[in-house]
């Protein structure tokens, strides 16, 4: 039976983790996700699971590494500067093929920046951030409901692929309040056996969880195996939402908070007789390049809107293969673009400016 709650995005994210059976949470306070860690502090204890406010973001990701290696569903959350600290740990998770969920509630950067919402960590999330050839699934919620749904789903994805998964959101989604609905009796999904887990070598050979492979050719073979896995992820897990994109003369591409604003722009432009559409990537990795390429064949123009200096737009340009048709509008430093600004940009593009 579905229950309806009024929740902040941060708390919805936390509850999604609880319902997904997250057994270990390690985190450190940082604005704008402090509500999340406080929520986990209460809920994890209520559910008799493990919560640790660690000494640093470094320690938190490494506790998650340990908990995951021991076979538990584990999560850490932070915001931009803290996620920078976690990059080594993320690379290790990927190299060791350990599942984990990492939530980044983005804020203005670079450096200490500010505590306003931003999307400046797209590169960090999708192009590495950590060292080495690895990938992780990146999910971009755009509502409080999706903060719950995507976090809940992230644990199943992480276990399915034995890989870290990131939920990439921002301070606005974290702090805003919206209705949240889920089945009160919801159980964790996608539970798998973990014969590789470090549980003590009872009745089996001693195992090791590691990412160091010094033998000749061994690391390359390991990397090939990882790349094959990432290809499978790429083939199977692309998700996007298309809003009025068929037959559109201009398609706005945005995710998260910005997608909510651009959706309203599509409707405003329709009133002016402009056939606009919105393509909202739900997975930022794998990126919906195939869908964008398909739309591009019809001669449409694209306007990519982000809260950064232009990051996702590079992936759109790659997919469209025609720079003349791809425009970008962005606000940086924690500023949120308004409907008027975006609609103004569309008008400019239509006028050929």
């Amino acid at each position: 039976m579905k229950e309806k709650y009024l929740s902040t995005g941060n708390e919805a994210c936390g509850e999604g983790a609880i319902r997904a059976g997250c057994r270990f949470y390690g985190g450190y306070p940082i604005t704008p996700q402090n509500e999340l860690i406080a929520y986990m502090s209460r809920r994890m204890d209520e559910e008799n699971r493990i919560f640790i406010q660690s000494e640093s973001e470094l320690a938190a990701i490494n506790m998650v590494l340990g908990a995951s290696a021991a076979g538990a569903r584990a999560m850490t959350t932070s915001s931009s500067p803290g996620i920078s600290l976690k990059q080594e740990g993320i690379s290790y998770l990927a190299g060791c093929e350990l599942p984990a969920v990492i939530v980044n509630v983005m804020r203005g950067g670079p450096g200490l920046g500010n505590i306003a919402p931003a999307q400046g960590d797209y590169f960090q999330a999708t192009k590495g951030g950590g060292h080495g050839d690895y990938r992780m699934l990146v999910l971009a919620p755009a509502s409080v409901q999706e903060m719950f749904d995507f976090t809940y789903e992230a644990f199943a994805l992480a276990d399915r692929y034995r890989n870290p998964v990131m939920v990439l959101t921002d301070g606005m989604l974290g702090q805003m309040m919206e209705p949240l609905e889920f089945d009160k009796g919801i159980k964790p999904s996608g539970i798998v056996d973990k014969p590789w887990a470090m549980t003590g070598a009872k009745g089996r050979k001693a195992g090791s969880v590691k990412s160091l492979f010094l033998g000749e050719g061994v690391l390359e073979r390991h990397n090939k195996k990882l790349q094959e896995k990432y290809q499978r992820m790429s083939d199977k897990e692309v998700k996007f939402e298309a809003y009025k994109t068929e037959g559109a003369e201009i398609i706005l591409i945005a995710y998260g908070t910005v997608s909510r604003i651009t959706r309203a722009c599509v409707d405003t432009l329709a009133e002016e007789g402009v056939k606009a559409g919105l393509l909202r990537p739900v997975t930022l990795w794998p990126f919906p390049c195939a869908e964008i390429s398909r739309l591009a064949k019809k001669g449409t123009k694209f306007l990519v809107v982000e809260m950064n200096a232009g990051q996702m737009v590079e992936d759109v340009r790659l997919a469209v293969q025609d720079d003349k048709r791809v425009s970008f509008y962005g606000r940086m430093g924690g500023e949120i673009p308004s409907e008027e600004e975006i609609v103004g940009e569309v008008r400019k593009i239509r006028k050929g400016k």
């Binding site: 660690s54 000494e55 320690a59 506790m63 590494l65 340990g66 021991a70 070598a201």
Partner: protein, 245 residues
Amino acid sequence: MTKKFTKPRSMKDAATHYCPGCGHGLIHRLICEVIDEMDARENAIAIAPVGCAVLAYDYWDFDTMEAPHGRTPAVATGVKRILPDRLVFTYQGDGDLAAIGTAEIIHAGNRGENISVVFVNNGVYGMTGGQMAPTTLLGQRTATSQFTRRADKEGFPLKILEMMAVLPGVTYLERTSVHSPGDVMNTKKAIKKAFHLQLEKKGFTMVEVISPCPTYWGLTPIEAMERIKKEVVKEYPLGVVKDGG
């Protein structure tokens, strides 16, 4: 009475990559002997460091995992909290524990994590070519203290065990050595005590083992053991630092 001495069951067959006379081989063996005697092979989960002992999983026949440099106590925390009845221990060098991992070791101790730590202190960074460690002695020449360690420029040898002693969550701290048969036996006793206290859920335990690094001390293995006896234990006195068990 028949006396037998063989490679412990928990030690794999592989010959180690450690230098001749390195303390790691000895301490690895002592840990395996203790685990055999405690019948804990199927219960043990070890977290290996970054350092010369990064390949410990090639030598130990029980579950052993890797950790990023210095984060070993945090990784162990994650494992132990999920599997509280296993024997979870870290094995760390002086860079892993006393440099990059200082926050992690102090906070694991401060939270009273029910883990054991084997801290191998050889006063130098072996794996990377003999650089100065926080535990390098004053007057010791290393790759990054080319004019020897000077207090005014490079600070003092760090005494982690003594620092940890003030933490209420820390139960048992002892410093031992491997430079003589008696000290080797003491090291084994201390490790066994730490492991038993862990299984009795008595809190955080740590054994610091003064170990030789002949290669980067520029000494023969026999001379290196002599140096421990004559110089190192003066700076790092052996004995129990805390025993709340």
